[in-house]
């Protein structure tokens, strides 16, 4: 396993700066169980899916919700909890 921070300077103690990018995910394939399909028209911005996503894959912005499929594991919690059934889960083989 490669730790870029420790390649370039002596850490002395085992610490890292907080990780804000995907440097440790390079080359890793995330197995996705399913893929959420979001129907924006049904959404009331209650933001339950946003607050409950364990992967933080749903972002909330001025234009509504966006789903980040790089982080989404396809667990289906968002679909199960949306009170408007605005999210359905498709099986994802990838």
């Amino acid at each position: 396993m490669r730790v870029p921070e420790w390649e370039s300077r002596r850490p002395t103690a085992p610490w890292l700066p907080v990780v804000r990018d995907r440097r440790y995910l390079d080359g890793l394939t995330i197995h996705r169980v399913g893929k959420p399909v979001f129907t924006a028209a049904e959404c009331t911005m209650c933001a339950l899916c946003w607050i409950l996503c364990p992967d933080g894959a749903i972002a909330r912005g001025p234009d509504g919700l966006t789903f980040d499929f790089e982080d989404c594991r396809g667990c289906g919690i968002c679909a199960a909890e949306c009170p408007r059934h605005a999210i359905t889960m498709l099986e994802d083989a990838g």
Binding site: M1, W6, P14, W15, V18
Partner: protein
């Protein structure tokens, strides 16, 4: 500067107070209790501004010290015996995190069997932990060692925790006159801001104590090992500066009358005082004996010990510990130092003073006598001997004992 009459425990507390420790976390265990009581009294009176954390166990005591050090505070704890055993997990952790924690260990045997009395089993059992270890002989040395410990541990080249070991009861409860320097001179020697950035700081968020995979683990350990070896250089510099500031010279090892010595006794802790007296008396009668006192057990002063023992005919190590099935801890270090030396001195390990048994002049003389006999024979028959064992009792227990055992 004042001269005060105090115990080893009080000397620790006085030094910790002058070092202006920020967080004191300790759990009571005989014979360390007076250290923490003295510190509590100082905090209550307002002479020491520190957070006292009355932890519910030694494991927590060390964890609290780790937490305090990680936010840039100066911690202190004290323990011994099974208390040191209870904190074994965070003791190893602290050195891996490279935290400059100072701990006083009032050497007490590790249970097996039950005891509250002195030997070095507790601290030598943590010699692998990555903590530096200094062993004190007198109350003055105890006091000085605490100030030195903070300075050495916090040095940027070192950044390792350190134990100051003082024999339980024999030194912790021994009253002697101790020179206490002025606060200002201590502050000059031991500045309060060690230059270490806090590791836990919302202004600069870090992940601390991350998993180190096999691809990097060896290098972290190499770093720790070599930093500890560098600590020897740092110690020499700091001892020199301490001598300049306070007039007392400490060193990693202290030779005494080694010139032309046929037999060199090697030991650490309070018994070195007794050994010195015996050596002085025997030298006066023409015997060629000397003492090599080891103060820094970790890092072990390998090169210095080798050079000082090179010319001896025999080395008698007095160990206040035993690794069952093998030898005492100091003996292993000494023999490793002697490995490249030709011709090798004879070497015998004398296990003495376990579980609070006093190491008196008779025991020292017996060890010297056995060593002398080995020189005459030209060989060592048994390299681990027990000169202060009650051989009559052992015989009643069914053990076959030997002369000078």
């Amino acid at each position: 500067m004042s001269r005060q009459y105090m115990s080893g425990c009080q000397a620790v507390a006085s030094a910790v107070s002058l070092a202006e420790a920020d967080v004191i976390a300790a759990y009571p265990i005989t014979p360390q209790t007076s250290i923490v009581e003295s510190l509590a009294s100082m905090v209550a009176k307002g002479t020491l501004q520190a957070q006292m954390v009355h932890v519910e166990s030694e494991h927590s005591a060390m964890s609290v010290c780790v937490g305090a050090a990680c936010v840039g505070a100066r911690p202190f704890t004290a323990t011994c015996g099974q208390g040191l055993a209870y904190m074994k997990e965070p003791v190893f952790w602290a050195s891996g995190l490279r935290l400059p924690i100072v701990m006083a260990v009032t050497n007490r045997s590790l249970l097996g069997p039950n005891t509250i009395f002195c030997d070095h089993q507790d601290s030598v059992s943590t010699r692998d932990s990555g903590w530096m270890q200094l062993y004190a002989e007198t109350c003055q040395e105890t006091f000085d060692s605490i100030l030195l410990a903070y300075r050495i541990a916090e040095d940027a080249r070192v950044q390792l925790p350190i134990m100051v070991c003082l024999d339980g009861f024999f030194l912790s409860h021994l009253y002697e006159a101790v020179e206490i320097p002025e606060r200002e001179s201590v502050r000059r020697f031991l500045p309060k801001v060690p230059g270490r950035q806090p590791m836990l700081d919302p202004a600069d968020p870090k992940l601390l104590n991350v998993l180190v995979p096999p691809d990097y683990y060896t290098e972290f350990e190499y770093d720790k090992h070599h930093s500890m070896l560098q600590a020897a250089t740092c110690m020499d510099e700091v001892f020199e500066e301490f001598h300049g500031g306070f007039g007392r010279r400490l060193s990693r090892i202290e030779p005494f009358q080694l010139e032309g010595a046929d037999i060199v006794l090697v030991a650490m802790g309070s018994m070195t005082g007794t050994i010195r007296a015996v050596v002085r008396a025997m030298r006066a009668e023409g015997a060629r004996v000397g003492l090599l006192k080891v103060r820094s057990f970790r890092p072990f002063p390998e090169a210095e010990v080798r050079e000082l023992l090179r010319g001896a005919k025999a080395v008698a190590v007095l160990d206040r510990s035993i690794s069952f099935g093998s030898t005492g801890a100091l003996f292993q270090e000494v023999v490793r130092c002697l490995y490249p030396v030709e011709p090798k001195p004879l070497a015998i390990d004398f296990i003495v003073g376990l579980g609070g048994r006093d190491v008196g002049p008779a025991t020292v003389c017996k060890a010297i006598e056995s060593t002398q006999q080995a020189i005459v024979r030209g060989r060592v028959d048994r390299d681990v001997m027990w000169p202060d064992a009650r051989t009559d009792l052992l015989r009643r227990w069914g053990w076959e004992t030997h002369d000078g055992d």
